[in-house]
């Protein structure tokens, strides 16, 4: 019954294959899970009993699969021994699903040439086998006996073998039931573990509303540790509240159209409540419902935080006095705060989706077309640079212009410019104030100058002897009055200058000018005064002389005239006042030196303050207004430059004032 070595030529197939290869039979065999397993006492005691009762040397329980027989239990042969199906006696038993008795194998044409018969080992001469069935009735093997001598195994032996095959079948059934139970238990345990582990509360209830299943999370969500929810009616399993109402309504509706998912408040047994996302579906068999509740209080809290943040930002944007707009990469308005709507004179909400440029910026102040490609917001979109604009006109919805200053800032999304935020301010009133200030200053200037012109003119005519010769004392007094008038005129000029600077009405008229030229003009202007004071004016500009700087010539001459005038007034007669110059990478530096007493330490800061001029220590009439240096410094700074008093070292005499003017990058170009 076993063939350790396959042999050739193979004996002809003695066994029909139809039943043997039936997939249902093979599946039943596999499900027994006995093939290629160890010996088991529950089967061995059966084969031992068979061998003893029938007094045969060989008794076996063979299982037959799609290619062999295999001994689950054997007496007189090794357990686990296998033989090819084509030479298997037991395969015939299984194939025909009936007992097979062969009293003398050599005399049976089906087996006379079978290797298990003709070979010395095992040299079978008689055989009796009965089929063994799986619990589902499929023949899966054979309980058989065999001997090495011919023997008639009759009805008695046959009956004993059949009874013991029944015992085998009982063992098979018991084993399968145990396996099934194990599997069910495993499945149930796995389900319970899953159900216990999921964070969602799961409640299964039947159509009558009785809870049949509730997991740990369901008890946690309901804040009930001890209560066993299973077997309880829904009306008792859940406290009064929206979630309970919802489930009971579903039950009453009898038919659940489809899975329902909604967020609803779940009241808990401790009186608190939770927002839960409730999913309700019919069970597969339609006999009840599964309700899954997910705690969404975290999500709700995040939403509330976001909402609070959004409201806060909206409040800030809506109370902002400046217009704030966001446009997308096509210039379409995505956001506009109330100040923007007010500035542009449009009803609330109507800016959104509109092209800001087309609607409100399509023309320059003078009415000429303003192309979108030249609009600062377009350039910000294209280049990703913020642009500040102070002199443009937007138009309100009714067509009236509004003077604005605005900044156009790119909105960057990972380096891509996805839009522009524009912060805009209506500067019409500010401009109007500027215009009024300028007009007021012009009027004041005129009103002050007119009487001064008359006084100065009258005194000048008297001194010119136009109405007759003057006595000496008369001439002295009128000279004092005349000179004081000159001083008053200068003071008025300085005050007006200062007022203009403060009013923001100072406008520099910039042009590219050779430094030599402005210095020359200032020196010529003070030449008479220097002569009169006996001062020698010296000029040594070096390379600074040829430098061309973008400046307001009148204003720089005014600065230099002031410095030279001061130097001449404070220098001793017969001394020298020098104008020097040099050039650095960034500046043209002009120095004005005198050989006077110098500025006392305590006055060095004060001299740039209004009316903070140094005292005339030697009693000479200084005739300054006290505003010259403050104005000169303001003018220097208006040029982007500086005006300072140079620290002098102990050995130096006099004072040096230094004017630094930035060299314009285009200074070398002809103008």
């Amino acid at each position: 019954m076993d063939t350790p070595e396959p042999r050739a030529p193979r004996a002809p197939a003695a066994v029909p294959a139809t039943r043997l290869d039936d997939p249902a039979r093979l599946r039943s065999l596999r499900e027994l899970a006995l093939l290629d397993t160890d010996a088991e006492e529950r089967f061995d005691r059966i084969t031992r009993t068979v061998a003893r009762l029938l007094e045969v040397p060989i008794a076996m329980l063979n299982l037959v699969d799609d290619e062999r027989q295999w001994a689950k239990s054997a007496v007189g042969r090794p357990q686990g021994v296998a033989a090819e199906r084509s030479i298997s006696f037991c395969a015939t038993v299984v194939a025909e699903d009936t007992a097979l008795a062969v009293p003398d194998t050599l005399r049976d044409p089906r087996f006379a040439t079978n290797p298990m018969v003709v070979d010395d080992e095992p040299g079978l001469r008689c055989y009796l086998g009965v089929p063994v069935h799986a619990p589902d009735g499929q023949p899966v093997g054979s309980l058989c006996v065999a001997g090495t001598e011919p023997r008639q195994l009759g009805a008695t032996e046959h009956q004993i073998l059949a009874d013991l095959a029944g015992w085998v079948e009982a063992e098979l059934a018991r084993g399968q039931a145990a396996a099934l139970g194990r599997r069910e238990r495993d499945t149930a345990q796995r389900l319970e573990a899953v159900s216990a582990a999921v964070p969602d509360g799961v409640l299964v209830f039947d159509r009558g509303g009785i809870v049949v299943e509730a997991n740990r999370a369901a008890r946690r969500l309901l804040a009930t540790q001890d209560t066993d929810l299973v077997g309880v009616d829904l009306t008792d399993a859940l406290p009064f509240g929206p979630a309970r109402d919802r489930l009971l309504a579903l039950l009453r509706a009898e038919q659940l159209p489809e899975t329902i998912i909604e967020v609803v408040d779940l009241t808990r047994f401790d009186g608190t409540s939770l927002p839960v996302e409730l999913t309700v579906a019919s069970t597969l068999d339609g006999g009840g419902y599964v309700a899954v509740a997910r705690d969404v209080s975290d999500r709700r809290r995040q939403e509330e935080v976001l909402e609070a943040l959004r409201r806060r930002h909206e409040t800030i944007l809506s109370v902002a006095a400046d217009a704030i707009l966001r446009i997308d990469r096509h210039g379409i308005v995505e956001f506009a705060n109330p100040a923007a709507e007010q500035l542009l004179g449009v009803p609330h909400g109507t800016l959104l989706g509109q092209s800001l440029h087309e609607r409100h910026h399509a023309h320059h102040a003078d009415g000429s077309p303003y192309r979108w490609e030249q609009c600062p917001s377009f350039r910000t979109l294209r280049d990703g640079h913020a642009i500040h604009v102070t002199d443009e006109v937007y138009r309100r919805a009714d067509g009236t212009p509004v003077e604005v200053a605005y900044t156009s800032t790119p909105v960057l999304d990972d380096r891509d410019v996805t839009g522009v935020v524009m912060i805009m301010r209506d500067i019409s009133s500010q401009r109007e104030v500027d215009r009024l200030k300028t007009a007021f200053l012009s009027t004041v200037s005129h009103e002050l100058r007119t009487p001064l012109t008359a006084i100065k003119g009258s005194l000048g005519l008297l001194l010119a002897d136009v109405v007759g010769p003057l006595a000496t004392e008369q001439r002295e007094l009128i000279t004092v009055a005349h000179d004081s008038t000159d001083r008053l005129v200068r003071l008025v000029n300085d005050l007006l200058d200062l007022s203009r600077i403060e009013a923001g009405a100072l406008r520099l008229h910039l042009a590219d000018v050779a430094v030599e030229e402005v210095v020359g003009s200032a020196v010529r202007g003070v030449a008479g005064a220097a002569d009169a004071a006996g001062i020698d004016l010296v000029r040594d500009l070096g390379e600074a002389g040829g430098a061309v700087v973008r400046l307001d010539a009148d204003r720089v001459v005014q600065i230099l005239t002031n410095l030279l005038g001061n130097a001449i007034r404070f220098a001793p007669t017969g001394s020298e006042v020098a104008v020097t110059g040099h050039v650095t990478d960034e500046h043209v530096v002009l120095g004005v030196h005198d050989q006077g007493a110098g500025v006392p330490l305590e006055a060095r800061v004060r001299i740039f303050e209004r009316f903070g001029q140094g005292d005339a220590s030697d009693g000479r009439v200084r005739a300054g207004t006290g505003l010259g240096l403050p104005i000169a410094r303001e003018l220097a700074e208006a040029h982007g430059g500086t005006l300072t008093l140079v620290d002098r070292d102990a050995t130096a005499t006099g004072s040096t004032f230094e004017l630094r003017l930035p060299r314009h990058p285009r200074a070398q170009e002809p103008t």
Binding site: H446, G457, G460, L461, A527
Partner: protein, 145 residues
């Protein structure tokens, strides 16, 4: 050679000072009027060599008067010089662009005024006054024309 000057200024004191300066020191003949309308009326009879015109005047201001003078048959080509207290450079530039010979600032030095006027108009016979360097205030400037 004596010239005829039509002086237009609303301020009595300035008219007096300027007239005395131009008559006594400059040796010219001055017809002084107080406003634009009077200037237009005096224009034909006076036939001035130059109109010395104030800018800020009540009623008809300097630039308007200039425009009306130009429209007047006797004033189409007469030389005009502004005499103004507006001394801001941009304001001076604006006035010069209106088609005048030049702009003189207030306050002026009465002894220098005849010379400054002569210099602007190219009169070589005028008595030059004291040097302009002793004159504070705006720098007088000539205009292209």
């Amino acid at each position: 050679m004596s010239r005829t000057i039509l002086l237009v200024d609303d301020d009595d004191a300035i008219r007096l000072v300027a007239r005395l300066s131009l008559e006594r020191l400059g040796g010219h003949e001055v017809v002084a009027v107080a406003g634009g309308q009077a200037a237009l009326e005096a224009l034909a009879a006076t036939a001035p060599d130059v109109v010395l015109l104030d800018v800020m005047m009540p009623g008809m201001d300097g630039p308007t008067t200039l425009q009306r003078v130009r429209e007047h048959p006797a004033g189409a080509s007469v030389d005009v010089v502004f005499l103004t207290a507006s001394v801001r450079p941009d304001e001076v530039a604006r006035l010069e662009a209106l088609g005048v010979v030049g702009v003189l600032g207030k306050p002026f030095e009465p002894t220098a005024l005849p010379g400054q006027l002569a210099a602007l108009l190219g009169w070589d016979e005028g008595e030059p006054g004291p040097t302009p360097t002793s004159t504070p205030g705006p720098t007088p400037s000539g205009a292209d024309h």
